[in-house]
């Protein structure tokens, strides 16, 4: 039975045979190939550079799409997506490179935090222990790793305690006021009773006057008492309002801080302040409703997007990455790909998110994740985190339980990480460490991981990063190398699919080269250029592409001797090999007659070589007479102008061995002259002249040196 892969291979082989057949069938038409090669070499007149760029970009895009999709589908993508978040990557890399916090200070800090938590634990939270824990807070805050959170807790608890004192004072005042009110009310009643009314029968006019007088008397008697009662009632009511306000304010401040620390992932601090809260406010299962109202009023910058802290109150143990629209109700975390891009979200009741890369990591008990980390989005993240937390947690008891659960979960995660690392399962270990870091960066178990324990994950993370960069670059060879390296480092890395995709891209590139060859045989330059550009874009280092270009270049040279001659001339001229140009001057004269920009160069070369050749011929003639000194002297003059001509140099060397004394005399004279030893130089020139009286070099040298010795000589 033939599966899909085998069928594809058969098709591939068949296509290859078909292309080869087409190429072979077209080979006899060598002239067409030559012409195509010629055009290819000189540049495509049909396809502009911009078109080629577009073709290349399209091909690269296709290649990228394939490889990138493959990488996105890879198992370690969860880890990769975290790593590719710049904000997270920086923090995570810093964590991976940081030494374990085993210093004396760090140990002391942990001891103090543990002591505070122990003093405030439910069984130990006596008034004395609470006071001791309260006094330990500023001491714990002395350490850098605390980031002054303990001082903040200390101040908040102090403010809340002051609020409670104020409440007590107002309550005491109210009790006094209530007593005064009772007295005032009694006095008021007694005053009313003391008023006597006339019983005599009088006329109607008198009756009216009496009633008026009686009313004035009643008012005069009762009003003071009545005013006292009203005033006391108002004061008591105002105090009661102030009591309620102060208590609400104190609670609200502490609740805000608790949730803020939770969002900051300072879970030990959450537990500490939560226990102080319980000690200060004995109001049962403390509701966070007031805080939720405040969180809804926090500012949010829609343009900046948001960093999301993803928390799940309904743990499922899942791990998810992706994006899309999420709308729903009830607590939960989700991730997926939708019409508006990737997204991950968390919330309680109604929530709605759209867009952005996202990742949600699950731990036992809850899920946490981050996305889109930036300075602006951090503010939004805080707002979102506070809102999310306020909706997720209905009471402080829930929050306290969660903090404890996270601490336990992180501690367990660290153990799991060590176990996976020991088993060399880097992929799972790295994901585990990323999850642990995300959830409990500041917890002792995480801070105590040594550099050696984290180092492998750092290397693996860097390799993952290289994998993504290689995929983005579209360079198949680099990508293959990185995949091989990942496989080597992490044997459990499943590279089968990506290797298959890479092979597919390579095959496609080779097929495109074959198509280019077919097009070349047909003389279809447009197709040649298109196919070869696409092939190179898919696989830049494809040896088929290189050999094709080389073959086309050769064909071009064979097709046009003139083009080859021009290319040779340029190359030889650049190398300074003028003799080779001179030796083949007929070829270059013919070729350059159609290339005005090279004619001046050729003319200069020929003039130079003419001079050299004349000098050589003259020297050879002199040498034939046995006058080697004269022959050498003739060449020496030309050599000083053209020291790079090989033939001239060789002949000069040959003649110098034939007249060594004269050559030595001249050279020594020249050296002394350059050293301004003019007396010696003159002696050597005279000596040279003695050896070869006809020497022009000696004669000229003597004249020069005498001029130096006797500047005013006649």
């Amino acid at each position: 039975m033939i599966n899909n892969t085998q069928r594809f291979k058969f098709l591939l082989v068949g296509a290859g045979i078909a292309f080869s057949g087409l190429v072979c069938a077209q080979v006899p038409n060598a002239q067409t190939i030559h012409e195509t090669g010629q055009q290819y070499k000189e540049g495509n007149p049909l396809t502009g550079a911009a078109d080629n760029l577009a073709i290349g970009s399209q091909a690269m895009f296709e290649a990228n799409l394939k490889t990138k999709k493959n990488i996105v589908d890879m198992k370690p993508n969860t880890f990769l997506s975290l790593w590719n978040n710049p904000g997270f990557a920086v923090q995570f890399e810093k964590f991976l490179s940081a030494p374990a916090e085993t210093s004396e200070d760090a140990n002391l800090y942990r001891q103090r935090i543990d002591k505070i938590m122990d003093l405030l634990s439910p069984g130990n939270a006596t008034k004395a222990n609470q006071d001791e824990a309260f006094n330990l807070l500023p001491l714990a805050s002395e350490f850098e790793s605390d980031a002054n959170n303990c001082t903040t807790i200390h101040d908040a608890v102090y403010a809340a305690a002051n609020g409670k004192v104020e409440i007590q004072r107002l309550t005491d005042v109210d009790q006094e006021l209530n007593k005064s009110l009772e007295t005032a009310q009694y006095n008021y009643v007694q005053s009313a009773k003391s008023l006597s009314l006339s019983s005599e029968v009088i006329s109607k006019i008198e009756q009216a006057n009496n009633d008026k007088n009686a009313a004035e008397v009643r008012a005069a008697v009762l009003d003071p008492s009545k005013n006292d009662v009203a005033s006391l009632k108002a004061t008591i009511q105002r105090n009661q309002q102030q009591i309620a306000s102060t208590e609400l304010q104190s609670k609200f401040a502490l609740q805000s801080l608790i949730l803020q620390l939770f969002v900051q992932r300072r879970y030990q601090h959450v537990i500490i302040i939560d226990r102080f809260y319980r000690a200060l406010f004995d109001d049962g299962d403390q509701s966070l409703e007031g805080f939720q109202q405040m969180a809804d009023k926090l500012g949010y910058n829609k343009a900046a997007g948001q960093v999301k802290l993803i928390a799940n109150a309904n743990p499922t143990g899942a791990l998810a990455a992706g994006g899309g629209n999420n709308t729903g109700s009830g607590a939960g975390a989700s991730a997926g790909t939708g019409s508006n891009g990737p997204s991950a979200s968390v919330g309680n009741n109604n929530y709605d998110t759209t867009g952005g890369d996202a990742t949600a990591l699950s731990g036992s008990g809850l899920n946490l994740g981050i996305e889109n980390l930036s300075m602006e989005s951090m503010e939004n993240a805080f707002t979102t985190g506070m809102r999310g937390a306020s909706r997720t947690f209905k009471s402080l008891s829930q929050l306290d339980a969660f903090a404890n659960e996270i601490i336990r979960d992180v501690n367990e995660g660290v153990k799991v990480y060590r176990f996976l690392l020991d088993k060399n399962e880097l992929e799972s270990a790295s994901s585990q460490l990323a999850a642990v870091f995300t959830k409990g960066e500041y917890l002792p178990s995480v801070r105590l991981l040594s550099v050696d324990e984290k180092r492998k994950t750092l290397e693996y993370a860097q390799l993952c990063n290289r994998l993504v960069n290689a995929a983005n670059s579209g360079n198949i060879d680099v990508l293959s190398d990185v995949v091989d390296a990942m496989k080597k480092m992490n044997p459990s890395f499943d590279d089968a699919e990506i290797q298959a995709k890479l092979q597919g891209v390579k095959t496609a590139s080779t097929l495109l080269v074959a198509q280019a060859k077919v097009a070349a045989a047909k003389g279809d330059l447009q197709s040649v250029q298109t196919q070869i550009t696409r092939a190179a874009a898919l696989w830049p280092n494809n040896p088929e592409v290189t050999s094709f270009s080389s073959e086309m270049g050769k064909m071009s040279e064979e097709a046009s001797p003139q083009v080859k001659a021009l290319a040779d001339f340029d190359q030889l001229y650049a190398q300074g090999n003028f003799r080779q140009i001179f030796d083949d001057k007929e070829k270059y004269i013919a070729a350059i007659s159609q290339s005005p920009e090279r004619q001046d160069k050729l003319r200069a070369v020929l003039s130079r070589m003419q001079e050299i050749e004349t000098s050589i011929m003259r020297a050879q003639e002199i040498a034939r007479r046995g006058d080697y000194a004269g022959a050498w002297e003739g060449l020496q003059t030309t050599f000083l102008h053209y020291p790079d001509d090989l033939k001239l140099t060789q002949l000069r060397a040959e003649y110098s061995t034939q007249s060594p004394d004269f050559v030595r005399n001249i050279n020594t004279a020249k050296d002394d002259e350059e050293k301004k030893e003019f007396g010696s130089a003159l002696a050597w020139y005279l000596k040279a002249q003695s050896v070869y009286p006809m020497s022009d070099l000696s004669k000229e040298g003597i004249a020069r040196v005498v001029k130096e010795l006797l500047p005013d000589a006649s």
């Binding site: 002696a683 005279l686 003597i702």
Partner: protein, 137 residues
């Protein structure tokens, strides 16, 4: 009895010897002038040594037996420059030419090509030979 006459003066053979010696001395004095006598103790210039490293000979004084080859230049401030050929008994050898500066104090000398001179020269700056004395032998 007569006594044998006692001989007087030097014996004739001794007289003849003395006359011979006096004659040789007079001849030497007549054939050797005072200048030539002054070069008797001066070192002869070794041309090979001079060519190889004239600087190392700087400040030294030598004597040369030369024939004037040609005039190279005439400076009113420094004197006349000649090329001279060192006397060599080997007539087949390449003539050894050296430059000699005849300074202004010796300007009264009449120097022409082919003249034979004995010279006392000093190696000065730049390896130049400068005549201090020159006379015809």
């Amino acid at each position: 009895m007569s006594r044998k006459k006692k001989s007087k003066g030097l014996p004739p053979w001794l007289m003849g010897l003395l006359l011979l010696l006096v004659g040789a001395g007079v001849y030497y004095l007549l054939t050797t002038n005072a200048s030539e006598a002054s070069l008797r103790t001066v070192e002869v210039l070794n041309p090979d040594l001079y060519y190889e490293n004239a600087n190392s000979l700087r400040g030294n004084t030598y004597k040369m037996d030369v024939t004037i080859d040609s005039s190279l230049g005439n400076s009113p401030s420094k004197g006349r420059l000649f090329s001279v050929v060192l006397k060599n008994d080997d007539k087949s050898a390449v003539p050894v030419k050296v430059p000699v500066l005849i300074p202004l104090p010796l300007g009264n000398l009449t120097i022409q090509k082919g003249q034979h001179y004995l010279m006392k020269v000093k190696v000065v700056d730049n390896g130049m030979l400068q005549a201090e004395e020159a006379f015809k032998p």
